[in-house]
């Protein structure tokens, strides 16, 4: 058999970098993509929650008679009759899966109430309507205890946040307060931001089925392997007995990254009734049982010389967590990295409250922190009479300002230069209120976007079949990032096969353990392992080829061989090589597989140790981040104070872009959410009783079509040398800076500084 193949066709275009259509497009545009609440079971029952109506207290009585009398009701579960659950594992860095413990409350296993909205009963019925109606008939009485629910009133009681390996609660360089006091030009400002909710359009939904001691859960999740472990612990069964599938996630934004009550209680209801049970939270139920973004009170004080060089930079924050859970959010993170001030002080404080714990929401901390920091920089530019971009450039650091570490990558000068040119920044007249379009006041604003990048571990297998098709398997998550598409692009190029020949399996705990979809880390985390797996696979294929005496690849080392055109070819003699088909069929192998990572308990532990080592090492050596320059133009109605966005342009430094189309969409998505944060979004918590007062999309205003102008996205597209393929995660960076840019543009249009989000029209009148 001759084993030399002539390649006649021109070299195939690389898949990486192209704007390839999403692989799940056909399913998503025909209604065939199956989400968590859409898995059919013949004996399906429906569950609905009853929520506590006090912020802190003890249940003194539950009357379920009326509920049980409703036709079709199977069971009303309360703390008096629910199966026993093990408590939620306490959060520990020694076991990352514990990070999904959203709260420490053992629902329906306690008579204690820790927040207004905590589930106190679950109704299971033959129909959705019966479950919902019966839930409304459950009567609960409480002994109420005093509760801490008014965030604004708790500011004075906030305690400094301790530093941890995940982030610094405080940091300083020099004496920023003293420098501020003597600075020739300064601003000292107070900002506030309200709580926010994710509002993924898919409400949290769980379908749970027991088969003996085996549990199957279908749920939109950003962390299937960690959630699986959590469920196993809570129900006292081995981890391998739990299967979690999450093929499609109808939006997450951080809100589906933890185990909230609905997940546990659906599995509990299924166990108690012996039925397959589905529970989709009502929109109100999402607000009552799934945490959102913390509110914040921030101070940003800046001191500068007349030359605009910063002598003092102070950013402090107060945020809240729940007494039963929640996270500190890195509000002051960007102040560590953005400006080359002589003296820096950052400090984060926390207050613990009797409220539903907060949780990760797109760029936790940083999205609201960059509002205050960037708006303050704009105010300082105004005081100095310096262009706000020029002020940033005068303070652009060569090394990380706090500790002198190197930046792995830093292209903010280029981002601003390109953005200013494309946006037409030079046409801006600096005087507030000086630009008009008819009756509209026009304003232009800029801000810096910045988000640190991390990487988790991922187990990946890659199988190459004799027909040249490839299957990549990894239990990662697809909530709109285009994960399956970009990983297929990467595998196609690494193995030299057409994009269409690669299939990616994801969203199932039966697959090799994937990373959590959080911290903008998923794509890079999977890519790193995928690259290794492809390399290993090529080595195995080459080894097979070398066994044959007449293979042109005989005696070749992997480094001397290139994968292209569906096979391996020598770099020194491009016409000498073999197709995968030829190699595998001669070896009598239907397929060859390579795996990275181990699924054993020991392997998982090793993976975690690897993650920690890399995390700590990276932090020690580099400051790594995605960044960008945000430009916007607003129109403000001088009579009503209505603010309309008319133009947006973002230039992002996110390393190498794998898919130009999906990357642009994700970056636009962050900007859209940032526009909501700036202009309309606010979760209203009743300061008397801690109840969310606007738990619905009619009263919590997320941006609609009419609010969003064309958003022009540019990339610098220069690989980051410290990241796999040079890519930097893009899930979060584009929401940062958005509110700062808008606040500055509104000031430019109107002369008014609004430092309390959202910038609603009442604040401009």
């Amino acid at each position: 058999m001759t084993t030399t193949t002539e390649t006649q066709s021109p070299p195939r275009e690389k898949a990486v970098g192209r704007g390839i259509d999403r692989v799940d497009g056909p399913e998503k545009t025909t209604g065939t993509a199956r989400f968590a609440a859409e898995f059919p079971y013949p004996d399906l029952a429906y569950a609905a929650l009853v929520h506590a109506t006090v912020a802190r207290g003890r249940i003194t009585g539950i009357d379920v008679k009326a509920a049980e009398a409703v036709t079709g009701v199977l069971s009303v579960l309360t703390h008096l009759n629910a199966p026993v659950l093990k408590p939620a594992p306490a959060r520990s860095m020694l076991d990352l899966s514990t990070m999904v413990s959203a709260t420490s409350v053992n629902y329906l296993n306690t008579d204690e109430v820790h927040w207004d909205g905590q589930p106190v009963a679950v109704v299971v019925a033959e129909s959705l309507e019966a479950a919902r109606h019966a839930a409304s008939l459950v009567e609960v009485t409480y002994q109420e205890f005093p509760a801490v629910v008014d965030f604004a009133a708790e500011e004075a009681n906030a305690k400094p946040q301790p530093s941890s390996m995940l982030g610094a609660g405080s940091a300083k360089k020099g004496d920023a307060e003293a420098a501020l006091a003597v600075a020739p030009v300064s601003v000292d400002l107070r900002f506030t931001t309200p709580p926010h909710n994710h509002n993924a359009i898919e409400p949290h939904a769980t379908t749970a089925v027991w088969d003996g001691d085996r549990l199957t859960v279908h749920e939109g999740s950003q962390a299937i392997s960690w959630m699986r472990k959590h469920l196993a612990v809570r129900f006292g069964i081995p981890e391998r007995n739990v299967r979690m599938t999450s093929p499609y996630v109808g939006g997450g934004f951080g809100g589906k990254g933890s185990v909230w009550p609905g997940t546990i209680l659906t599995a509990l209801a299924a166990r108690a009734t012996g039925r397959a049970v589905r529970m989709m939270l009502t929109r109100e139920g999402v607000y009552r049982t799934v945490g959102g973004r913390t509110p914040s009170i921030q101070r940003v004080a800046l001191g500068a010389g007349q030359d605009g060089r910063l002598t003092a930079l102070i950013q402090t924050s107060v945020t809240r967590t729940g007494k039963v859970g929640g996270n500190s959010e890195p509000v002051t993170e960007a102040a560590h990295h953005l400006y080359d001030a002589e003296n820096i002080l950052v400090q984060q404080k926390l207050v613990e409250m009797d409220l539903l714990p907060n949780t990760f929401m797109r760029a936790p901390g940083v999205s609201i922190g960059t509002f205050a920091l960037e708006a303050a920089i704009d105010e300082l530019a105004g005081e100095l009479g310096v262009d706000p971009i020029e002020l940033r450039m005068r303070n652009e650091p060569e090394r990380n300002p706090l500790d002198g570490k190197r930046f792995a990558h830093r292209k903010l000068r280029e981002a601003y230069a390109l953005g200013a040119e494309r946006f037409g920044w030079a046409e801006r007249t600096p005087e507030p209120g000086s630009m008009r379009d008819g009756r509209w006041l026009v304003g232009m604003g800029v801000a810096t976007a910045y988000h640190s990048s991390v990487q988790f571990t991922a187990n990946v297998t890659v199988r190459l079949s004799a027909d040249g098709t490839v299957v990549v398997r990894c239990g990662f998550h697809e909530m709109g990032m285009g994960g399956a598409t970009v990983q297929a692009q990467i595998a196609a190029d690494e193995l030299g096969v057409p994009f269409e020949a690669v299939r990616v399996e994801y969203g199932d705990s039966d697959l090799p353990t994937g990373p959590m979809a959080g911290g903008s880390a998923q794509t890079a985390s999977v890519a790193a392992s995928l690259l290794s797996a492809c390399e290993k696979l090529k080595g195995s294929v080459l080894a097979l080829a070398r066994r044959s005496g007449d293979s042109p690849l005989r005696g070749q080392r992997l480094a001397a061989v290139e994968a292209r055109d569906g096979g391996l070819y020598r770099r020194d003699r491009p016409d000498a090589g073999e197709s995968y088909e030829a190699i595998l069929s001669r070896a009598g192998r239907p397929s060859v597989e390579a795996a990275i990572g181990s699924e054993s308990g020991l392997g998982a532990l090793a993976g975690q140790v690897r993650f920690m080592a890399k995390f700590v090492n990276d932090r020690r050596r580099w400051v790594k981040a995605a960044s960008g320059a945000q430009f916007c133009e607003v129109r403000v109605d001088p009579d009503t104070g209505e603010v309309r966005l008319s133009r947006w342009l973002g230039v992002f430094d996110v390393g190498r872009v794998i898919n130009a189309k999906t990357a642009a969409s994700q970056l636009r998505g962050g900007i859209v959410m940032g526009i909501g944060m700036a202009l309309s979004e606010e979760t209203l918590v009743d300061p008397r009783n801690g109840r969310v007062m606007n738990p619905g999309l009619g009263d919590y205003h997320i941006p609609v079509h009419a609010d969003i102008p064309p958003i022009d996205i540019h990339y610098l597209d220069e690989p980051d040398p410290t990241m796999p393929l040079g890519l930097i995660g893009i899930g979060e960076v584009s929401i940062t800076g958005v509110a700062g840019a808008i606040a500055s543009a509104v000031h430019h249009a109107t002369g008014k500084r609004v430092r309390d989000l959202p910038i609603t029209l009442d604040k401009l009148l």
């Binding site: 497009g25 898919e202 999906t662 994700q666």
Partner: protein, 159 residues
Amino acid sequence: MVTLRMRVNGVTRSLELEPWVSLLDALRERLGLTGTKKGCDQGACGACTVLVDGERINSCLALAVQYEDRDITTIEGITHPIQRAFIEHDGFQCGYCTSGQICSAIGMLAEHGAGMPSAVTEPGASGLSEAEIRERMSGNLCRCGAYNGIVDAIKEVAR
């Protein structure tokens, strides 16, 4: 219980259900047509948009019993160039609002074609500008923020 006949995607279906079951829940939970999505169950998000005799409605705000003998079209019954345009222009990310966006867009194009004005229609104007599309599609929320792609997809099909 009420017995009810409905034409869904061209097929006559017979249903026995309680009079308080919404059209959305009837489609999803009784007929297994889960392409139509529930986002808020309050008429605020548009994810449940379906076409009734060619007109777009929020199926969560409709009772199934109101639709005896009506022609219902859900995403499963749609074959339209706009689906391809959504893919090409990346008019979605997670895909959960997409069924509603597509049904709404088809209904909206018909409304515009029939000369129905919107809040931003200038007297005498007839074209479907971007501003018109955005205004007319504002009942369909997309939290992933794929609005630009959706507008581009609709523009292409409307051309």
